[in-house]
Amino acid sequence: MHESSLPILEIKNLTVKRDGVLVLDSITFRVDRGEYIGLLGPNGAGKTTLLLAILGKIQPTEGRVKIAPDIRMGYVPQKYLPNSSFAVSVGEIISMGFQRSSLWKDQGEKEKILQVLDAVGLEKNFYSKNFMKLSGGQKQRVIIARALVHKPNFLLFDEPTSGVDYKTKIKIYDLLAELNEKKGITILFVSHEIEKVVSVCKRVLCLDKHLHEGCHPQYLAQGEKEGIQNKEKVVPVYHKKQEKAIHEKHF
């Protein structure tokens, strides 16, 4: 079989226990090339644990994670440079994405950094700006650029829960969609923003220890185990819920 027809990622019966507590229970799914998958789930559903298992940082208690040999993974973490106020330039942040650990620079390193800055919609002059002085949205773009600089073909994006306003979030979603469509990067997008994930991603998975394809955790929480089977149904129902919440709040 040709390499390009193999799935990028294949997870079979993945079970993870941490300190004796079951976090992931018999997860099975596969990701094909070019997919843009949204992974939804409430807090504590095991989303980050699943990402860490894919990244090989957590050993499964049972089951296995198989990654195609030609895959280069890019990772955008939920938290970046926590609590730091230390001056560090955008160029320095992005160069963290290179494999090299010494202070010597590879030839053309700056060019590569300018290219990814352009890919995430930031001007060249951002290269020497202090990362700490940027807005939340600009910071997130720089962190995406850091993940892109070693040319990954599979991007794992753990959405930050704070620091970015709604308008900026939409721009980031659009940027990811563009990377998926124009550059063919496969994306696994972890979030709890039900509405956007459902409308942007081509495929939606939901997690609450178990994995459910095409449904979402709000319904699981209500005991509707059947869930919603496709995104066309999820969006209107979700809108109704929002309208009801707004009505109750204001009237």
């Binding site: 860490l52 990244l55 940082k57 990772y75 973490p77 938290k79 970046y80 440079l81 926590p82 609590n83 730091s84 230390f86 001056a87 560090v88 330039s89 160029g91 320095e92 160069s95 963290m96 994405g97 290179f98 090299r100 650990s101 010494s102 202070l103 020497s128 700006k129 202090n130």
Partner: protein, 272 residues
């Protein structure tokens, strides 16, 4: 005494050489120390290593070797406890600091008749540095510089974004251990030169000064080293002519630099 006398006396020359070397290495290490919020750790290492000095004085082996051994062990335990993530970093630091100081005081008390005093290692005596100590420190500095040269970029990621470094690069934890041991080695060797109470100042204050106006990590390192070397040079000269403790004199120049840069930056911002 004329100003040029300091450049003629051999011990004063030696103090200047070793002082500039210590401040150069401290400037580099300090950048990573402050960026990684390890300022308190470095101070803890400086204090716990006094336990090794106390034991050295009491049992009759070299206090510098004792300081080095304890500093190394403390750095290792610190790394080990931090990896467990069960305790808050500052709590671990306090436990090691108090324990180290207690041991140092016990042994210093038991060996109170010995002419070597704990005080020398608390405050340092840069003007009394022996030639072999200069060579020892030169050797240690080279080791630290080679480590930074080969792993500097990785270390920058580790101190600024540890979670990302841990996920992205498989050997991050070992680079971090080597970094903490480097601080341990630096502290152990420079204890007699600048003193346990002042090591933290050389690692932290110039970097804080550089941070006031820097826009990048590289800039901070560059100016941190510059401020450190200038302060050490003038600190030693000042202490030589005014007869005040050298360490204190260096720290006062460092503080003066911090105040000037801070005020200068604010006045510049107001005028702009």
């Amino acid at each position: 005494m004329a100003l040029s006398d300091i450049f003629l006396l051999e011990f004063a020359q030696r103090a200047l050489y070793v002082g500039l070397l210590v401040s150069f290495v401290a400037g580099i290490l300090g950048g990573y120390v402050v960026a990684g919020r390890h300022s308190v750790f470095s101070d803890m290492l400086a204090h716990t290593s006094l336990a090794g000095v106390g034991m050295g004085i009491f049992f009759g082996f070299s206090p510098t070797n004792g300081a080095l051994a304890v500093s190394f062990l403390s750095a290792f335990f610190l790394w080990l406890f931090l990896r467990k993530e069960k305790f808050a970093p500052e709590s671990i630091t306090m436990v090691l600091l108090s324990g180290g100081l207690a041991i140092a005081l016990v042994f210093a008390h038991l060996a109170k008749d010995n002419p070597l005093s704990l005080e020398t290692f608390l405050f340092g005596s840069i003007l009394a540095v022996r030639p072999e100590e200069v060579w020892q420190f030169l050797f240690v500095s080279l080791g630290i510089l080679i480590f930074i040269l080969f792993f500097g970029r990785r270390l920058e990621t580790i101190v600024l974004d540890p979670e990302y470094a841990d996920i992205r690069f498989p050997f991050s934890k070992w680079v971090n251990l080597a970094f903490l041991l480097s601080i341990g080695m630096f502290v152990g060797f420079s204890l007699k030169i600048i003193g346990g109470l002042l090591i933290g100042a050389l690692l932290v204050i110039p970097i804080v000064t550089a941070q006031i106006f820097s826009r990048s990590f590289q800039q901070t390192l560059f100016f941190g080293i510059f401020f450190n070397m200038v302060a050490t040079f003038f600190g030693i000269i000042f202490s030589f002519y005014v007869d005040v403790p050298t360490g204190a004199s260096i720290v006062l120049v460092l503080i003066l630099q911090l105040l000037i840069v801070f005020l200068g930056k604010n006045i510049f911002s107001l005028l702009r």
